[in-house]
């Protein structure tokens, strides 16, 4: 499994490394997304997050001090208004984390029992949404890269993007497509110094996992906070001016590998 990300080194000694980094995170009100909002805030970054439930967005914004934006990544009409608020509030963008994910039909169904509409919905959230949001923010990201601030897009992936788990068809197929999107964008925008990471945080104790595997023992699952710290390390390492360059090259080499 070339994909799973485990931090190869301790957390950066200086949180100031990531200071002033402008970070946007989708799906920021629960699970890994919320842990990422807290992690980047703790590192002194300027953070904006996106989620569907306006009331919950306001609560998390108040708790964390991050900018909250209500919007649904799966809706085409929401993308540009969300991108406007992100760039308006942060004054640009260095890091985009496409974290919001849809499991597809729950309880999980065999593909033959999956409604076409359920697959479409999973694709809207897991593939089209990240594509549209990233595309609308490419100008901001490349501007940041030109100024030497670094520009990173992290697409949160899954081992279900690689392994054909029965019952995970809608989720797995959409995450597989997102993984390939990340890899192609990484090639196309390497000359613009925008880095694309497609990382699997592992099985975590999150609402999404509970939906998929209701009887899983939480004690056997990874804590979202730990996964968030590891992912934030990988992002910092991928920023040329905010982390050590060799780590960045290593990280890219590791995650760009094609699993067979």
């Amino acid at each position: 499994m070339a994909q799973r990300y485990k931090s190869a080194r301790p957390a950066p000694q200086s949180p100031a490394n990531a200071r002033r980094m402008r970070v946007a995170i989708t799906g920021g009100t629960s699970g890994l997304g919320l842990a990422l909002v807290r992690e980047f805030k703790a590192r002194g970054c300027l953070v904006a997050f996106v989620a569907r439930d306006a009331r919950r967005v306001a609560e998390v914004a108040k708790q964390t001090g991050a900018y909250g934006i209500a919007g649904d990544i799966a809706r085409k009409e929401d993308i540009h208004p969300v991108a406007l608020q992100i760039t308006g509030l942060l004054g640009g963008l260095d890091v985009l984390v496409n974290n919001a994910s849809s499991l597809g039909p729950t309880p999980l169904r065999l593909l033959g029992d999956t409604d076409c509409e359920a697959l479409e919905l999973a694709l809207s959230t897991n593939l089209l949404g990240p594509f549209r949001l990233t595309k609308s923010l490419l100008g901001a990201l490349t501007a940041s890269a030109r100024e030497g601030r670094g520009a990173v897009v992290l697409n949160v992936s899954s081992d279900a993007a690689i392994n054909p788990y029965p019952g995970w068809g809608a989720y797995g197929a959409s995450k597989a497509a997102l993984h390939q999107l990340s890899r192609i964008w990484q090639e196309e925008l390497a000359a613009q110094s925008v880095r694309f990471l497609s990382l699997d945080p592992g099985d975590m104790d999150t609402p999404l996992h509970a939906l998929a595997v209701p009887d899983a023992d939480p004690a056997t699952l990874k804590r979202p906070d730990d996964a968030a710290r590891e992912l934030a390390d990988a992002i910092v390492a991928a920023c040329p001016d905010l982390g050590p360059a060799p780590r960045h090259a290593e990280a890219v080499a590791r995650f760009a590998r094609v699993p067979t």
Binding site: A61, Y67, G68, I69, A70, I79, H80, P81, V82, L84, Q85, T87, G88, L89, G91, G92, L93, S136, L138, G139, A140, T142, A143, S144, R146, E147, G148, E188, L189, A191, Q192
Partner: protein, 368 residues
């Protein structure tokens, strides 16, 4: 020329008229723009993202419907949109020509305005019934959310379909500060950026808060463009110096880039640490008019949309080429049905040899 009535950017069929430094005209597909540039040149574009700057709402004192178009910032350096300059119309929308739009109700300092849940107050009037300084209520989050929900891109009657925000953003749009699209930038796509790089042509950006192009009122239009804030990154200022030292040309994508670069260069005049031909990085406010009498210090060529003679956009071209050459270009644009306005075809104007008055940069002392 004919107005491009589609809101979609012309794709592979868009055209390019080139007016060369020796006053020759060439017709080409716009996708071949890169072939008119040379290795060692530097393309500079405006990465301002277009605001949904048109807000429909109500003048609460009278209950009258209004359209307010944000047109400029009161304090450009702070770039706080919560204090803006705005042009206010009465009933109707972009489908009516701005010239035909009714006046707003009489506006006074202290008047309250509502745009959905977004509220604003008139701080002062500005010597014209349509022009006011406004302040929005609430936090920055509330303002951006309100604009995202209730704002639309400013547009004009020649494009009948309502524009979506995505129609008004260039591929490189990065920071939402433009009141109308920096439309020359629609020429840029990621294939062009890659092609520039392959051909050894540099690419740099600045951010210029392009203002509104028309108010529908002759008296007010004479005050356009309003002061426009810009920011030039260090890396862009350095690239300009390096390009000119190596004999490359500076190619501006759009009039906003010309205004910002020439303003930033002029600010060095009289500064003994710098010669001419060097731009000062950082924030500024472009408030100069560029026309036939202007000596360009920085920009060697401009890519622009097709604009009518007499407009301020067209006036700016007179700094690049003499009137006879521009007249021949205008005739060619009409004869060959080039599409005008912000979603139309493009024009590349090289600064004519006769207008090349600045000395080489080698004479300049560069502090950096």
């Amino acid at each position: 020329m004919i107005a491009a009535a589609t809101s979609r950017v012309p794709g592979v069929d868009a055209r390019l008229l080139v007016l060369t430094a020796s006053a020759e005209l060439r017709h080409a597909p716009r996708t071949s723009l890169v072939e008119f540039l040379r290795p060692g040149d530097l393309v500079v574009a405006n990465d301002a993202m277009t605001l949904p700057a048109s807000l429909h709402g109500v003048h609460l004192e009278t209950g009258a419907p209004i359209e307010m178009r944000l047109a400029g910032l009161q304090a450009p350096a702070g770039a706080d949109l919560r204090k803006s300059i705005a042009v206010v119309f009465g009933t109707g929308d972009f489908r009516a020509r701005t010239e035909d739009r009714p006046a707003p109700p009489p506006l006074s300092a202290g008047d309250r305005l509502a745009f959905g849940d977004l509220r604003a107050r008139i701080m002062r009037t500005m010597g014209h019934p349509r022009l006011v300084a406004v302040a929005f209520d609430g936090s920055a989050e509330a303002l951006w959310q309100g604009l995202a929900r209730h704002g639309r891109p400013i547009q004009y009657a020649h494009v009948p379909r309502p524009l979506a925000l995505w129609d008004a953003w260039t591929s490189i749009a990065a920071v939402p500060v433009a009141f109308e699209p920096p439309s020359a930038g629609f020429v840029i796509d990621w294939a062009l950026v890659a092609a520039l790089s392959r051909r050894g042509i540099g690419f740099a950006t600045l951010t210029h808060a392009a203002g509104i192009s028309s108010t529908g009122d002759a008296e007010l239009d004479r005050r356009l463009p309003l002061d426009e804030a810009y920011r030039i990154p260090d890396v862009t200022a350095r690239a300009i110096v390096n390009t000119r030292r190596a004999g490359g040309r500076i190619v501006a994508i759009g009039t906003t880039v010309v205004r910002a670069l020439e303003h930033a260069a002029a600010r060095h005049d009289g500064d003994p640490a710098h010669g001419s031909g060097v731009v000062r990085p950082g924030n500024g406010v472009a408030n100069q008019r560029i026309g036939a009498a202007t000596t360009l210090r920085i920009v060697d060529a401009i890519v622009t949309g097709v604009h009518e003679p007499g407009s301020s956009h067209h006036d700016l071209l007179r700094a690049f080429a003499d009137d006879e050459a521009l007249r021949r270009a205008a005739v060619a644009l009409t004869a060959h049905d080039y599409r005008g306005h912000e979603f139309g075809d493009s024009l590349l104007v090289e600064r004519s040899r006769a207008r090349r008055r600045e000395g080489p940069l080698a004479d300049a002392r560069v502090a950096a």
